[in-house]
Subunit: 308 residues, 2 copies
């Protein structure tokens, strides 16, 4: 988690660009003549690389949503791999958004796939080699422990779902338990516990939480309840979350969270506000606008500079 | 779900073989000389094909655990694809065990990847083309709806996690809600609701539940509570669940559930009981032993024949 926080301070930007790159998001000229998964996957990589080239100096991290790659089959997975590797090569922190979850023995395979290395006859090889991974804690501690075991480097971290940004998230997550806690608070408490033993130098552990920007009340409760847990905050922009809503996720140093936007950045070139720009230039401009929007909301809460 | 149930009745076998094929499970001679992911993936496919060839006439379905393929990178995903396609070509129902979950727009990508087809410039292509998929419902209805939308064919179905087989599953799933239900019961109720509108001819919907063989008490409660929900039952064998424990998951016709075993079948050739057999012959023999063990437990409960 420290590497992500350092990049946030360095860029003064607590946001992450979601490379949830649906082939349909690409400009006409990049889609023309493509007739199969292989062509779609290659075009997606070219699109992602152009965006990374434009944003790498102003945005600390990318969140690569694997579902958008799996739907193009094995070629899509190759595109996922190349996208992650390219963003890393440009100095960005790479968050694989895969929400993986399973029993311990299987979770250890996922942990190897995304954060660690897989043995083949005594040799170790990295499969997808991300810095960070989203996970789902419905199975409890022994399904998360294998991921925690991989958090041996400063760059490695996980984010477990706590309060998700989607409209139905409350159906289970907002229910009240017999001890008075909400289910999302209970999950948050588990996340805090999983992070013990992986405390970083900024007071946050390597086990973060996914907390949606679309649920301000719950985000505020979680920020107070989980002072050592860093938040990955989806739901800004296209999903309806505002900078003012999500500003409750930051501590008095402006740390404690990183905000994701995907479609709002990838498809910025289709908006009037960015007319005349290439898709990559528009993505850069929209990223800077998003950063300034969040910093403005922080300043309204008295935070002048991220990191103090 | 109907296709799975018909295969179960036809084979008189309510079990599924889990192709959770770790490269380390392969016999020495298949691992010899392999030094990279490509070689490991090819050897895993050869191993899986030999097992499918031996079991296709006695076992109705395979459950292919994708984590064991993701850890070998893009080559592993190719092996996953080839394994699913081969089992399908031999008439087996293919359950992709991936426990996918996300917000609606992203879940629709996963639904396309595993159950449906993905558009590329107006043409539709199947990515991994499984019959059934495991999912995780922590995000609520709008994260599951895209999968339900794909359940248009008799062969298609999903299984949502309800009560998982791992030791820590109770940390969240067994907690009591303020309305008196356990979290797993609440999730079970949601699963039953998601299945409405996809009722099959045997009285079970196309939205099933994962219910571990290792938690007999909860399985018994869920069987009574969810009469229209078909169970995928992990935890038999290596994880400690017995046929007598899990027999509570079946209705009076012997329907209502399908039991998974992975390591117990794949690594049977290493056991004394199957000495002298090839790994594939041992897998077949262990599958038949497992079937007979479950049928024996069913008979002890008065069920003479699956399907009545």
């Amino acid at each position: 988690m420290d590497k992500l926080i350092e990049k946030i301070i360095q860029t003064q930007n607590p946001s992450v660009v979601g490379l949830d790159t649906d082939f349909a998001y690409l400009p006409d000229e990049m889609r023309a003549g493509v007739t199969d998964f292989e062509g779609a996957a290659k075009a997606i990589v070219a699109f992602n690389k152009a965006i990374v080239d434009e944003i790498a100096d102003v945005v600390p991290a990318v969140k690569v949503q694997i579902a958008y790659y799996e739907m193009y089959g094995v070629h899509g997975m190759q595109a996922f791999l190349e996208t992650c590797a390219y963003a890393k090569s440009k100095g960005m922190v790479v968050i694989a958004d895969a929400k993986r979850n399973d029993i311990g023995s299987t979770a250890s395979c996922y942990a190897k796939a995304f954060l660690g290395k897989t043995p083949v006859e005594g040799q170790l090889y990295a499969a997808f080699d991300a810095d960070m991974l989203t996970v789902n804690g419905y199975l409890g501690t022994d399904g998360i422990a294998p991921f925690v075991k991989e958090l041996t480097e400063d760059s490695k971290g996980i984010f477990a779902l706590v309060k998700t940004s989607n409209p139905s998230s409350g159906e289970l997550q907002d229910l009240t338990l017999s001890d008075g806690r909400k289910v999302y608070e209970c999950m948050g408490d588990m996340v805090a516990k999983w992070g013990e033993g992986n405390m970083g130098k900024y007071g946050y552990t390597a086990v973060g939480a996914v907390v949606g920007a679309t649920h301000k009340e719950q985000a505020e409760i979680l920020r107070k309840r989980l002072p050592t847990v860093f938040f990955l905050i989806p739901g800004y922009g296209a999903q309806g979350g505002t900078a003012d809503d999500l500003s409750v996720c930051f501590d008095e140093r402006g740390l404690g969270g990183v905000v994701n936007s995907s479609r709002g950045i990838l498809c910025a070139y289709r908006k009037d506000a960015y007319k005349g720009m290439s898709f990559a230039e528009a993505a850069r401009a929209a990223s800077i606008d998003m950063k300034n929007d969040i910093l403005r909301a922080m300043q309204a809460r008295g935070i002048q500079r991220i990191g103090g």
